[in-house]
Symmetry: C2
Subunit: 258 residues, 2 copies
DNA sequence: GCAAATTTGTTCGTATGTATT
DNA sequence: CAATACATACGAACAAATTTG
């Protein structure tokens, strides 16, 4: 009878109500019991329809409360090729704040957590060290306008610390000037190039909780390997961005401003 | 009783069987009826578990046949900053073939479909023309080793054709030399820079069918706006890549080869 | 080529648990 | 504590797609 399954028809109908502005952001949808009557369908069917909408990020269900139209988050755009000339990259700790404030939005970053451990395989390969070699790990969560925006973890060779040249890497405090500048001043290691490797995948449980995204949502994961003036990897930074609120720009040549 | 819901436990158990190699790619999972007995759960609960695995891209269900472990697709990596010096970009028609063949894989591209129509708002803005202005649209589907890999649509101002300078844009045939070179030869318009705008979103129905990805999968959508030597937009190219088989690299400075 | 068997897809009804108000 | 709303789980029936005999 139905060309399309009923749950899909219900989902489409609810979606058109959202798109048309009939249902506005933050507004509560009818409860499952009410929708059951409206569409003359079972509760399970209604729930299947709502599941479709949640995986599209259009609605959000809260146990004990109801289902609500999500307010569209104004996406933040990170320029990955920022300041190519100076060697400082887009989305870094040092440039993150200014990129956000340029947009008249309010950045906030969590306390930095520092850890020392054996290099995970993916990191060891990129840093050109062995898997048994130790690395310093600096982790930080970032917010924009109080909304969780990204999780970043940087890995440095432990040798930077054991050589006593860059001891501050192990201190769990924001290095005001940025680690890139700090390493240049302390060790004479200058970041002259980097390579970003961009993937998208489903979020793990931790990321689902922190960002508040559904299990079938999607995150960007960007591995940045930075090299010094000798072409030696000096740092690997892994940043996870929920796809519903992050976009990226890559400039090649000198395109005119937007 | 259950810290974790039962469908999640079942999903986790099946996942560990896949990760451990107990279930190998292309192998059929036990049928829903068999799993129902194995885990002493109802068929619906088993189905919920399988749904989790499909949205992770670990398994694929085929009506009338069964559920199968997906063979992991070897991802293709597109360098977005290819040949920055010459102004030719990564992932373009002209460079797509060579990038793929460098990888010892076999590229294939569908016939090009050409259309003329009013500029969609997103395109008109980027091309710096009005929404009522006409554009030429060149669409192509791309495969690697016979697997659908990307869908690309390029938009050019209709003026390029009406001025009689670049009539071949309207011909539904591959422009061997690449449109970038063609426009340079025919019109003296040289592509000197471009800007890529990278997003990720859920696939539409057409994309689900073409790429064979689930409704809650994820695709990259990259808008490339290319500019000529005067800083005027000459082209907008929109490419859609399924996230399960595509990754991207951005080079800033001159990082050493991989 | 067709009918039967198998397997997943959709839909219903019902019951109970958990979170919030 | 009670009422409300979503989450999980069971069982059942029929439909649709595919394979098998």
């Amino acid at each position: 009878m139905a060309q399309q399954p009923m749950y899909q028809q219900i989902a489409d109908d609810l979606r058109s109500q959202i798109d048309s502005g009939d249902l506005v952001p933050d507004q509560q949808l009818p409860t499952e019991l009410e929708l059951r009557k409206t569409y003359d369908a079972s509760r399970n069917t209604v729930r299947d329809a709502i599941k479709r909408l949640t995986s599209l990020g259009l609605v959000e269900t809260r146990p004990g409360q109801g289902t609500f139209v999500t307010r569209k988050i104004d996406p933040f755009v990170t320029v990955l090729t920022q300041d190519a000339a100076t060697g400082y990259g887009g989305g870094e700790g040092a440039t993150y704040r200014s990129q956000v404030e340029e947009d008249r939005r309010t950045p906030f970053a969590s306390q930095i957590k520092v850890e020392a451990k054996s290099a995970p395989p993916e990191i060891a390969t990129r840093l050109g060290i062995g898997e048994d070699d130790q690395v310093v790990l600096r982790h930080q969560e970032r917010y924009i306008d109080k909304v969780p925006w990204s999780m970043q973890t940087s890995f440095f060779p432990m040798e930077f610390v054991t050589s006593r040249q860059a001891p501050d890497l192990l201190i769990a405090k924001d290095i005001e000037e940025g680690t890139v500048r700090y390493l240049e001043k302390a060790m004479g290691i200058k970041q002259t190039s980097y390579r970003d490797w961009i993937t998208a995948r489903a979020p793990d449980e931790n990321e689902q909780n922190f960002f508040g995204i559904p299990h079938d949502g999607s995150v960007f994961e960007i591995f940045r390997t930075a090299y010094d003036q000798t072409g030696t990897p000096m740092r690997v930074t892994v940043t996870v961005f929920p796809a519903d609120r992050n976009q990226f720009i890559v400039n090649v040549g000198q395109p005119p401003d937007l």
